[in-house]
Each structure stands twice: as C-alpha cells, then as structure tokens.
C-alpha cells in the first residue's frame, strides 16, 4: 500500500522498563490531533487500559510452526532427538511446545513421516476506536514467541489505517529492552522519543538505546521523567544527551497524579490538565511535534 509522503511515525522507547512510556504516550494521545495510536509493546500491552478501545476488527496472528509427534506412527528410532538442538523432544517422544523452536528439522528427517508441523496462532491483533482516535493494538499469547513479527504487523496496520483515514501521524508505544521487539518497533520510524529516568540504571539503559537508534539511523529525542528524584543525575543525563547531539524535549516531575490518572483510566491531561506535570507534558509535546 502506498504511504502518505508526509506520514510521521514517532515511537516511544526507553531501554529500561517502567520509565513512563505508556503514561506519556497516553498524554500525547490527549494532545495530538489527527493521528493513529499504536501499541507495539505486544507482550505487555497496557495502553488499552487508559484508552479503553472499542474493538472494531480482530484477527488471529499466525506465525511459525510447532512439531507434534504422532505416536501411532513413531518407531522411536531417536533420529529427531539426535537432530533437535533445543532438546525439545523427551525420551517418550513428546515435543515440549515451549522448547520447540519451530525449525522443522525433525519433521524433514523423520523416516516415518510421523511428525506434524501445524502453523501456530501466537496472538491477536485489534483495530479499534478510542476517544483519542483510532488505535491498533495486539496481544501476544502467553508464553508465545514471534513478538517481533507481531510488532511489525501491528505497525503495518497502523500505517494502513493512517493512509485510509488520511491521518499524518502515528504515535507508537514501544516495548522496553534492546533486541527483537524493540528493533521491530523502531525500524524505519521517523523518530524515537527515549524516555529515561535520573538513575544510573536509566542512564546505562538509555545509552544502549541511543546506540541502537544511531545504528538504525533514526533521529532520537530525549525526555527525562521523574527528573526531581535525582537532580544531579538529571543534569548528568542532559549533559550526556547534549554531547551526543540529542535534542532534549523536556523534564517531567515525579508526580503520583500519573498513577491516580491511570487508576481512573484517564490520561494525566484528562485527569488534571492544569497540574505541573500536565504543563510539563504539554510543553514537551509542543517541542516534540514541531521537531518531528
């Protein structure tokens, strides 16, 4: 599908978990106009808890295969156990579905054709309406894999929806971490907002996601959440960001209002738009939206 030439996609990431990605993205959802919302943290999706989407379309996410040995045909020759590099096949010739990598080597070599290899349903994808605009979100099945591919699919649907509705912005909540799902979340994005916190851990983890954004040549912006929990560290991180040439979008104070808003299923802007925290978020959004 052809994308709108000026479609912008902002991904909120952090490296370290729990820095406030989803609360901030929810606040942006209250402030930004004409956008699609996207939750790419598919193995712990939380944005729906604030935005209460009304699901309009739902589809199964099918990806990969799992081996299942048909014991009626199996002669227990043991070739599959010798070949399996994940030790996923027990001495009773039962495949552990969690250990099975879905490589199909056992299926291919079984001399009795005794191993089935059905496609797996690993999760669900939803296209919804919320009070803040349309939203694409997903749920990875518990203990399932292929989260990166579900992230990619979720982003693809968000782009299609933006195109269909003639919207030029996608706001995406990314997962924590650095590997598969994060890379799937940011590849090809217009920009990433790195939400960090003033701690040695926050700084360490941010340094790694900054390197990741550079690796994929994606412009990165920085926000320091809960900045007043350690002012000295906030200054250290800001200095680091300046040295790296990363634009600082703002500081957000630590404020239990974020939690109170979440409990009420509201964004902080909806819960108390005149609070200091809301003001800081509004200023940050203005800076960010004009930088994108």
């Amino acid at each position: 599908m052809q994308e709108k030439a000026n479609l912008k996609e902002l991904i909120v990431i952090s490296g370290k978990g729990g820095t406030g990605k989803t609360s901030l993205l929810g606040a942006f959802a209250s402030l930004a106009k004409d956008k699609v919302l996207c939750d790419a943290d598919v193995d712990a999706a939380d944005l729906y808890l604030i935005l209460e989407p009304e699901i309009k379309e739902r589809q199964d996410f099918q990806e990969g295969h799992k081996a299942i040995i048909n014991l009626d045909k199996c002669t227990e020759c043991g070739l599959c156990r010798d070949l399996c590099r994940w030790n996923a096949i027990s001495s009773e010739f039962i495949v552990d579905p969690i250990d099975c990598e879905g490589c199909g080597v056992c299926v291919y070599f079984c001399p009795e054709d005794a191993i089935d290899f059905p496609i797996k349903t690993c999760g669900e994808l939803f296209i919804s309406e919320t009070r803040c605009g349309p939203m694409v979100h997903a749920r990875l099945g518990i203990a399932e894999d292929n989260s990166g591919k579900l992230v990619t699919l979720t982003r693809k649907h968000a782009k299609e929806l933006a195109h269909k509705r003639n919207l030029n912005l996608i706001l995406t909540d990314g997962p924590p971490g650095l590997a598969c799902p994060v890379i799937a979340s940011i590849a090809g994005a217009t920009g990433v907002l790195i939400v960090t916190e003033p701690s040695l851990s926050g700084h360490h983890d941010m340094d790694r996601v900054v390197e990741l954004a550079n690796h994929f040549q994606i412009p990165a912006y920085v926000c320091i959440n809960k900045f007043d929990l350690n002012l000295e560290m906030t200054e250290t991180i800001e200095e680091y960001a300046q040295n790296k040439g990363l634009p600082i979008m703002g500081r957000i104070p630590f404020d239990p209002l974020f939690t109170k808003a979440m409990v009420q299923k509201q964004t902080i802007i909806e819960y108390d738009g005149s609070s200091n925290a809301s003001q800081a978020v509004k200023e940050m959004w203005e800076r960010l939206s004009s930088s994108l």
Partner: protein
C-alpha cells in the same frame, strides 16, 4: 535452590530485589543477571570480573566449489536465512536460528558452521557473592542464546538468584524456566496488575511455584491484593514508596546498605521462599 525474579511490567523493582536479596544472603549465593538487553545488576553489585567470553551462534557458510545449487538448504530453512539466487547461495546470518538443518540436509557437504558473535558473557564476584551476566551487542535481535549462556552458569548447591528481563515472551521464559521459585515483582496499578496477570499465566504454564512482591505499595489501588487473594498467591513483601529508596536506587546503591533494617527483611524473604517452594 534457583530463584528467578520476573515481573511482566518493566521498572517494578526486579533489580532491586535481586541485588539486595543476593547481598543480604551474602554467602553460598550466586546472582545471575539474565536481562541481557539491559543488564543493571552489575551497577549495584560492582563485581570484580574475572572471566569474559564472547557468546556466538552457529551460522552456515557455503562452499560454492562443492554446492550443486540443489536448493534443499533453502527448502528446509523455516527462517528464510539461506536462499539460492542464480548461481550462488546467500545466507542471512541475522535470521538464522542455528538449527543446523541446512548443514544436515546438504548431500554435498558444502555447508559448514561458523561462529557469529552476538554478545558477551562475564562472571566474577563481590566478596563472597558470585556474579554472572550477559550483554547482547547493540543491533542484535536474539537475546535467548546469551540468556542460555548466563543460565549455564547456575551452580547446583548454591542459592542461585536469576534476574529476568521484563515481559512474558521468549527471553523471560528462557530466564525463569527450570527455576524452583519465581518472585513476581509488581506495583499496585492497572498496568502493574495487567502485566502481573500475564506473568502469572506464564509461570502457571511452566508450572513453577511463585509469590508476589508489591513495590511502591502505597501508590495505586488494592486490586493487586484482591487478585493475589482470589488466585491464592502469597504476597511475600511490600515496599512503600519512599523518596529515600528511589534516591538510593538512582545512585546505584543497595537498599540494605543505606537502610540496614531491610537486610533482615530480605533474609526473611528467602526463608519464606524456601518454605513455599518446599510446600508446593
């Protein structure tokens, strides 16, 4: 005894629990940081590293002098990591899961495996505590092989404490699998509860005894406690929000060093876990 610490939601305090528990127990203990994407335990432990090794995956290398372009390698590969294009064979190492299928199926012995480095494993100690962790290289996709390397350092006979990454998918499963007890660290918020439920679903599939620690227990609502009661999951510890704790954490310092009362609490936590693990 192998105790793993997981959470579903990130930033709930896994690292705080793992590092303080290890240091409170102080002897016969090994701390293993399996959050190889964003490891943090070393910041708090400040270990002396005595061993460093590269973690690599086996990926195919094709000898085109032997290859007959039969295409069987492409056919067996489930991950599109090896493809015959014209008169050559292309490999995509970053897509390869190292199953060895292509090498096995090649009748010309044209495929060998070479190492592709994806991260680092390090181990060392702090006083009497043994420490190990892994770090995936920036830009690498697969965390699990690095996690597996860290887990290979588990020492039977010791108290092994495994700090898992956030989430509920493959890296977490790989971290908590085959452990004797899972501590699920959460916060009493809608996000905390939602992700706790996913994490409980995961440990139930793995069939591992588990309990809950509620961090910042006074910032939120009562729904985590109600859920724990309904599901009959023990609450092992509650930690109220305090700026002093947050500030201690931010400087990379241990709670039990700055607030010595906590040392006893962590020792009790371990004793409770031993009891729960034995009962189930």
């Amino acid at each position: 005894m192998i105790i793993s610490i997981a959470s579903g939601k990130g930033g709930t305090g896994k690292t705080t629990i793992a590092t303080n528990l290890a240091v409170a127990l102080s002897t016969e203990v090994k701390l293993l940081d399996c959050d190889v994407e964003e490891p943090n335990d070393h910041i708090f432990i400040q270990p002396e590293i005595t061993h460093t090794e590269r973690v690599s995956l086996k990926v195919p290398q094709v000898d085109m002098n032997k290859c007959t372009l039969c295409g069987l390698c492409q056919e067996i590969c489930q991950f599109q990591a090896i493809v015959v294009v014209g008169k050559t064979v292309l490999t995509f190492p970053e897509l390869c899961h190292s199953c060895g299928g292509c090498m096995e199926v090649c009748s010309e012995d044209a495929i060998t495996e070479v190492d592709r480095e994806i991260g680092v494993f390090e181990s060392g100690y702090r006083n009497s505590i043994e420490f190990a962790y892994g770090r995936i290289f920036v830009g690498q996709v697969m965390a699990v092989p690095v996690i597996e390397r860290v887990k290979a350092a588990v020492q039977p006979g010791k108290i092994n404490i495994i700090d898992a990454p956030p989430g509920t998918s493959c890296p977490v499963i790989s971290s908590v699998k085959n452990t004797d007890f899972v501590i699920l660290v959460t916060e009493p918020t809608p996000f905390g509860l939602n992700d706790l439920k996913l994490a409980v679903g995961m440990v139930k599939i793995l069939n591992i005894p588990h309990g809950i620690i509620i961090n910042r227990s006074d910032l939120g609502d009562d729904k985590v406690k109600e859920y724990a009661k309904e599901e009959n999951i023990p609450i092992l510890m509650e930690i109220s929000f305090s700026r002093q704790i947050a500030e201690t954490y931010s400087r990379g310092k241990l709670l039990i060093e700055e607030l010595p009362d906590w040392k006893e609490k962590f020792i009790h936590l371990y004793e409770d876990i031993v009891d729960y693990a034995r009962k189930s």
